[in-house]
Point group: C2
Chain length 150, copies 2
């Protein structure tokens, strides 16, 4: 009976700690989530960038698929930047939370560029892809410069 | 000139090591990719499972969105199980590569169940969600039992 009560209380505590509007059971999970989503994004973006830079042989089908996955992944990390996720194994600067409007602008800009990259990759035109890769890479860099510690 | 030649050779070596049909520059990246994709999937699936199990207050909108993300993520890890990715920081058992047909079946089964979960979550009916969560959880478990080291 004690065990059951303990379980119910733990369940209630968890339920309070994790309203449905919040996303993660622990700050640690949120930090890992955003890093993992960004890594999956980067691997796909990096493949297209490698093709744009001539380091990987251009394959239009692979480029289009990779860009589409990167575009999807670009939507996910932001849920992991909730309040209380500024401490832990992270290079995230405090400015993410103190200058949230700017951070959100960068995040939106990156997603917009990633969407343009998907369109360029679907076109199969390597010159278009190069332009979009540069713009997307620039959006990544601006945000890293301002909001990620070295 | 020497530097340029070295760069060109390095580029050529990379190009040979990474044909467009392959996906990753290093086995280490492939391993990290599949783990990270599975973590992002699990966090989203876990949120829906938490609602189904009464540990997180049910929110139909969040459940539907989380299930959709989990369904998408379920497609990604498999690219990270290519040849040569059996060694390193991984719990993947050798059977993944020696009994690939079975592993692929499990992978397909899990994706199918995840798609059913998205449909159930969209319906907003918690009983349907519970059934689909159990089936999906079962698909995860079968594969972990046979193909993941403790």
């Amino acid at each position: 009976m004690k065990k059951l009560t303990a379980c119910l209380l733990a369940g209630a505590a968890l339920a309070m700690a994790v309203p449905a509007s919040a996303q993660f059971a622990k700050a640690e999970d949120a930090i890992k989530y955003r890093k993992n989503a960004l890594f999956v994004m980067q691997q796909n973006f990096g493949r297209v960038a490698g093709m744009a830079g001539g380091k990987i042989p251009f394959d239009a089908g692979v480029a289009a698929e990779s860009a589409a996955v990167a575009e999807y992944m670009a939507k996910l990390p932001w849920a992991g930047f909730g309040p209380g996720t500024d401490k832990g194994e992270t290079k995230a600067k405090p400015e993410i939370w103190t200058d949230k409007a700017k951070f959100d602008d960068y995040a939106k800009k990156m997603q917009d560029e990633m969407s343009k990259l998907t369109i360029a990759a679907k076109s199969g035109n390597l010159d278009n892809i190069k332009v979009a890769v540069n713009a997307t890479g620039g959006a990544c860099k601006s945000c890293h410069d301002d909001f990620r510690a070295k």
